[in-house]
Point group: C2
Chain length 428, copies 2
């Protein structure tokens, strides 16, 4: 496959912008970037009037939660989770989660996301959905001690990793995901850690999301959630480490994250909407912590647009710190691409370079909101809409072209989501 | 015209939600809302699977500034305005402003905005554009003392109002717009006030946008910008009063706004992006000030999506105040509709009621991001994309249907914008 006449935002330091170049893809990998590559019996994608960049990486979501989109609003996280979400989740089946995951993955792709990190349950259904949608995903069967007295679910999580890590030409990777410190006791968290160590996998967990979580941890243990899991040995595992949310952080917490190469999956919209707060972006970036972007589930966002997170990141901190030079468009785009790839330990991802995985999006500049462009980075960070994403390539396969999915009946997916939501939430 | 089978978010207190109703429109006005209205020789719009609500009201923009979209980013307002924007504006012609205004109006319409308040210059071009786009607009020739030593521009502004107030079946109204207190001296501001009084028109001006503006005002005059213009008599005029931005407000300022029925046009994205700050939404709403939403110009936003402002308003303050019950979806939608109409003194606008102007939008619920709906208000505030806006009716005329403009060649508009931008900004 060759992408012709591309205006490329490579997201590399050396050659950040290439105008009028072609990109050649073979076996899911970018094998050449040059002017006028000869076209020989291969698929050609015309990138005229489009901006070409690495696909967005969504480092924290729960795809199956689309059923609860806009269900139970305007509540704080603890109330929302324990009194509304957990009871509704008890009604979910494996087949529900297939359809919900598939809808979520398609929604993400349609907004330019090519990779997501997803932890939930019935994750075999999510793997099956990823086979169909074509999305790249790092998946975990989420576990928590309060709902796993006999460690059956932890065993499930381990088996899930063994069965699925590296499938679909390594498009699926796996990780270990204890939900949080407030849904597991110390003994359970130690068991989870042991399994991660045995598998040489990373850990992805909710950390310091709310003031309640942090205050309770100090009250019960005298330390912050981050210090607590660090002392347990969580940050000494081999695989990539992701702390989701990380809203309420002390300076010591930030030093720990930086020293142990723990990436942060910020979820700006979710944290605002659920009134959890705003993470200290300035202190995190200054300390050299790898900050990436996540959407959280559609139930707390309430949509799965990484582009929206990118837009919010690019404006929020300028206003909050009253400094217009904070997170310029190009840096904000790094959060959405290279930083996300690094967070998930996928180092051959997140840039347009020879040897990188061919996860590429083409963003049209033909809409009114993209006219005129003036600055390609700023036009994506500040002006683009999800509907400007024209073509999405993942692992060298075109999964969306001219905004049409190539291999899925979307109408059927939506039908299944609506029907199953009605059963679960009772015709909301 | 009849809209059939509508799920209506009326934005009224009494009957907020009507399911399966028809809306009959005659002479640009809603004349009946009932079930099963007979269809007799009239245009029928099928609202099946769509949410029907009043069009959004954008209470502060500068439409012609689309040419500077994503030009000169990451600067503070004063630097951006005086060193980049003002010099570029010197190159603008009347014809440029026609095409830029038209593009901006179409962009607004395509995201569900049916009314905008726009102050800039070459405003006759903006009136001509509004004739073509079909948008409802409250317009002003913006004036400032520093660029108007002989009051020629003020005279222009007055003549503009006389010529255009009430044209196109009252779709165009006019107002008086002194740019700000920092671009005019007191003598000039008094002259502007006199003209507003003579014309019995309202005043719409930038107020307390940055800390610099407020601090300078205190240093020079010992009072805040709001107290200063109040003491000049600005808030005693007959017409509607709009303070744009109002980011930095004392408690006294807020009391003045409330007591004098001055509406606030908040511009959340612009204020964040230009690092001006975040307006005190909690104190404003508590004091009963009428807060509405604006996009500002595309040069500082950098797009003209009121839906984006609605989304931002609905999440930002929950997170900032760490209270998830702040501005529930329905209240946020009020900012975008009824409050906007009230700000502009257009009291027959902003609700779906018999007797109201037929400014109506149909939002599709068929996209992945709107599936499932669960809660109609929340689905619009939190989950919708601009591309979900399917049909836009303004003053009883369908200006966009199935996302196609009914009376404009959009390709030509974009061509003109690109060509003219290249001349002005030099091929950015």
């Amino acid at each position: 496959m060759i992408i012709k006449n591309a205006r490329i935002l490579t997201m590399t330091e050396e050659n950040p912008f290439l105008d009028g170049y072609d990109i050649k893809i073979e076996n899911g990998v970018i094998c050449e970037i040059a002017k006028d590559i000869p076209v020989q019996c291969c698929e050609v994608i015309d990138a005229h009037s489009k901006l070409v960049l690495p696909g967005f990486v969504n480092t924290h979501t729960h795809a199956s939660m689309v059923f609860a989109r806009n269900y139970a609003n305007d509540l704080n996280l603890q109330d929302w989770l324990f009194n509304y979400i957990f009871p509704a989740e008890d009604k979910l089946t494996l087949e529900d989660c297939y359809w919900f995951s598939l809808a979520a993955q398609l929604e993400m792709i349609s907004g330019g996301t090519t990779t997501c990190s997803d932890n939930y349950f019935f994750m075999d259904a999510t793997v099956n959905a990823a086979e169909v949608s074509g999305i790249r995903a790092q998946l975990a069967r989420s576990v928590s001690g309060i709902s796993d007295p006999d460690c059956k679910k932890l065993k499930e999580a381990v088996e899930f990793c063994k069965r699925n890590n590296g499938v679909f030409n390594s498009r699926i990777t796996t990780t270990i995901s204890p939900h949080s410190i407030y849904t597991s006791d110390e003994a359970y968290l130690r068991k989870v850690l042991t399994e991660a160590q045995k598998l040489s996998l990373g850990i992805n967990m909710h950390l310091s999301e709310t003031a309640t979580e942090v205050n309770d941890c100090y009250a019960q243990r005298g330390v912050s959630p981050i210090k607590y899991v660090k002392d347990l040995g969580y940050f000494d595992v081999e695989g990539p480490l992701v702390g989701a949310h990380c809203v309420h952080l002390s300076d010591e917490d930030i030093s720990i994250l930086a020293d142990h190469n723990v990436s942060v999956a910020s979820n700006l919209t979710s944290n605002l909407k659920l009134a959890s707060g705003i993470l200290p972006m300035d202190r995190l970036l200054k300390a050299g912590v790898n900050v990436s972007l996540g959407t959280d589930g559609a139930s707390s966002h309430n949509r799965l647009s990484l582009m929206n997170e990118l837009r919010l990141a690019s404006i929020l901190f300028k206003g909050l710190y009253q400094d217009p030079a904070v997170l310029p468009a190009k840096d904000a785009l790094r959060l959405a691409t290279v930083n996300g790839a690094r967070a998930l330990g996928l180092n051959n991802l997140g840039t347009i370079t020879v040897g990188a995985k061919a996860d590429i999006i083409l963003i049209s500049t033909q809409s009114l909101n993209m006219t005129p462009v003036n600055d390609p980075y700023a036009s994506i960070a500040y002006s683009s809409c999800e509907s400007d994403v024209d073509t999405v390539i993942i692992d060298g396969t075109v999964v969306m072209k001219n905004r049409e999915f190539t291999g899925v009946d979307v109408e059927n997916v939506k039908y299944e989501v609506k029907k199953r939501t009605e059963r679960i939430l009772g015709g909301c």
